[in-house]
Symmetry: C2
Subunit: 258 residues, 2 copies
């Protein structure tokens, strides 16, 4: 049996310390191909490049055995181009994204390029995982994370994941290491409350900077935020079926007509 | 009782015929404020502008009573800037996005700037609806759509929408008008299969164009694609809780550790 083929991407760009940690861990589990953005793409969500072409540039960043390409597109573009062009003769066995510098827990999942890459991987029919560390710093300490990267990725390689489901894995800040363990959880229903700061440019015209504060009224013990606050690694199964199935019957009564 | 306040946005840009149709319809239901992208933002998904400032430019495009601003950001930026800056003294009663030139049915919902604006509206706690016409053309015929825009928007103004749920409304191509009626449905579990076309630039370097074909193995009668194929307007309740609740128990057994 040949070694599993593992595709690695992220949204912080191919040189970020987070993805270098992930590549190092995945090299111990299989054959690694990296197709990652050539520059930071944070907050890109599930954006794709519809009206422009894409570039792929072979890279050699460290001494590892992986094959690497920097891509001019978004994280989702990277996954599509990797699966259908770079790896068109052999479907990957696993797609991993990250390790993101910063949280993708709770509602952050929907803005996240890291998690959108994993969601796209699941849409392509490949077991996929996004990893994120609750530390925005470029020089964040990723050392406590590496054993969990290997363990959770190996579990997905061995057992697969349910169809249409990827994993959103978040790690507490390294100052909480050693971590308390691993908790499978649901996405906490928190939200960002934005405030815009107006400034005036040198030509007298206004412009706006977005700032936001996170609020979490969802204090139940089965959420990712609850687990992370207590030092656990959180694992949320995440899907791309956005249908609010619980709302169907009421709306049938209100809106159906023929 | 004062007229309801309705925020209008889209992803095709503020001058697109689709949003002009939507503004015209909403002017008949309430007081309309438009904050929409200053240029096309299709395929932007839930992208937000994290590392740049935003601009707002007052516009006067037609003779209608609405107030309008062109925004330099993504559709989701438009909603945030509208709710927290332009309308910070009065929360809108309804947020509508579109009418998109092209389908946002099935899995297209996840790539769509139009629908991400509606999802963001729901995240801000405002009843929100995205409207899309299955016709990509700039000069698509929006006439059969307008009565449904008013009816579905008025229903949401009157009855509200469940917390955390927005509506994804798609209209068949106008050549299917008069439409067969309205069907509340779930998102069909179809997918895009991409193929990349490699070309060589004048300097001898390769670049890639993405193309895709849509496949839908999900032929059940309760899906949006089923309804649209038969000439119905489809209405899918759409949520931002991406948790795959059905996958939790199996993963608890596999991954929980403490």
């Amino acid at each position: 049996m040949s070694a599993p083929l593992i595709l690695v991407t992220n949204d912080d760009g191919i040189t970020a310390p987070g993805i270098r940690t992930l590549i190092h861990a995945m090299n111990q589990l299989g054959e690694v191909v990296v197709v990652a953005p050539d520059r930071p793409q944070s907050g890109m969500g599930h954006a794709i490049t519809l009206h422009d072409s894409l570039r792929l540039k072979p890279m050699s960043i460290d001494a590892g055995p992986q094959t690497e390409y920097a891509c001019s597109g978004t994280p989702v573009d990277c996954v599509k181009l990797a699966v259908h062009e770079v790896l068109k003769d052999r479907k990957p066995d696993l797609i991993v994204s990250g390790v993101n510098h910063g949280s993708n827990a709770s509602v952050n999942v929907i803005y996240s390029g890291t998690m959108s890459a994993a969601v796209e991987g699941a849409m392509q029919g490949v077991p996929s995982i996004g990893f994120s560390l609750l530390d925005y710093k470029w020089d964040a300490d990723f050392r406590p994370v590496e054993p969990y990267l290997k363990q959770i990725a190996q579990d997905a390689l061995t057992h697969g994941l349910p169809e249409g489901v990827c994993l959103n894995v978040n790690f507490p800040n390294a100052d909480k290491a050693p971590f308390a363990g691993v908790r499978v959880a649901r996405q906490a229903l928190g939200f960002w409350k934005e405030a815009f700061e107006e400034r005036i440019d040198p030509y007298g015209k206004p412009y706006y900077w977005m700032r936001g504060d996170y609020y979490n009224p969802d204090e139940a013990e089965d959420t990712d935020i609850w687990a992370l606050d207590r030092g656990f690694v959180s694992v949320v199964p995440t899907q791309f079926d956005l249908t609010a199935h619980h709302a169907l019957s009421n709306l049938h009564r209100r809106l159906d007509q023929r």
